[in-house]
């Protein structure tokens, strides 16, 4: 059986989650490997969620938030940008493949951008193969 990556998405309610809904409303097709958790703001994302997601067997983690400057809570995503940048550096220095973690700003009107990012990211994870480093074997 070919490798079907498991991708965890964490999307902010106001922009990326709504953008993902728009992708659906406009019937854009994208791979079904992504499973999205909705949070109110990208700043809600605790770095440990990401470490944990990889331990739970995620092959890739995609974070989506509002474009900087457009955060519905004014500045949430500006904090998130810094915190998630550090998360990425930590993952990389631990030996995790850099391509498995990605942060994208996708607005509520960018349904096609959402679909495009998911397509691209899914392909990238497919190429990287199964994530075995963090995954806790049952």
């Amino acid at each position: 059986m070919s490798f079907e990556p498991k991708i965890l998405g964490i999307a902010c309610n106001w922009c990326t989650y709504t953008g993902a809904d728009l992708a659906g409303t406009t019937r854009l097709q994208y791979p079904q490997n992504i499973r999205v958790v909705r949070v109110m703001c990208s700043s809600r994302i605790n770095p440990s969620f990401i470490f944990r997601a990889f331990q739970l067997g995620a092959d890739g983690v995609l974070i989506g938030g509002c474009h900087p400057g457009d955060c519905h809570y004014n500045t949430g995503n500006l904090y998130a940008r810094r915190r998630l940048a550090v998360t990425k550096k930590i993952l990389e220095f631990s030996g995790m493949e850099p391509g498995r973690f990605r942060v994208e700003w996708i607005s509520a009107s960018e349904g096609n951008r959402f679909a495009e990012v998911v397509r691209e990211f899914t392909e990238q994870i497919r190429d990287l193969g199964p994530q075995t480093k963090f995954k806790i074997s049952q």
């Binding site: 900087p68 810094r82 998360t87 930590i90 631990s94 030996g95 480093k133």
Partner: protein, 288 residues
Amino acid sequence: MAISFEQIEQHLKTEALKLLESGKVILVLAYGRGYDANHPMPYVAKHPSDVDNIVFNEYCTANLARYLTRYPRRTKIAIAVKAADSRAVVQLIQEDKVCREDLVVLGIPVYGMKNFKTGEVIDSKTTGGLYNPVLYDILLGEEVHGQPVSSPYDVLAAYEAMDKEERWAFWQRELGRCIRCYACRKACPMCYCDPCFIDQNKPKWGEKSPESPGNLMYHLTRFHHLAGRCIDCGECSRACPVDIPLYLFHKKVAKDCEEMFGQAAGMSIGDKPVLVNFRVDDSDKILE
């Protein structure tokens, strides 16, 4: 100019005595004798008569800033600090854990400090280039000049050069040895949470047994919690009974933070810790 540890000790005693006698502080955080001269311990002088017990030598590596947060706010404290320790004091002031006006900072300009376990001189590993405290009220001796100045991040080169598989293997091996004694967080001046996230049961962030997955969760999250806050004293690694080189990871994160946000931890009391701050023009490149 060679460092005279006796002279520093003498200065320290003189100032401690003055401060305690005048009542300006109610305690002095310094070093006292351990089970032998090579194993000094943190020591709290509370009475003028305690001052005789104060020692200072090349093994006094402990970062006494660790103890500042154990006293109620507004306690008047004098604290002996080396270069890195002074950065911890600055960072704690930034975080509003201690008030500048409650502290008398006794700065120790020094080099040639040694790891008490190995006898190795630790200058290049920790203080790298910084020999004088960044904050003090009283300097115990003359400022150090003319010592080799290196980047504190030089020691990272070999690890940054590893490919990701090698690095994963390295950390897998190192963190896999962790026995979860938590000496690292006990020694760390910036780890003042009680309880620590890893001790929480709701949520349970990671396994508590000393096995790889829980160890990974604990350490990676701790690296994140200390991002932009770690002042590179190296105490976590010296406190570690199984000698995990945690300082390497902390250094790497500190380096990344400095590159991304243009600010090193604990250098100025006017700074805001980088992860509870932002700039509108932070580049999205940092996410790449």
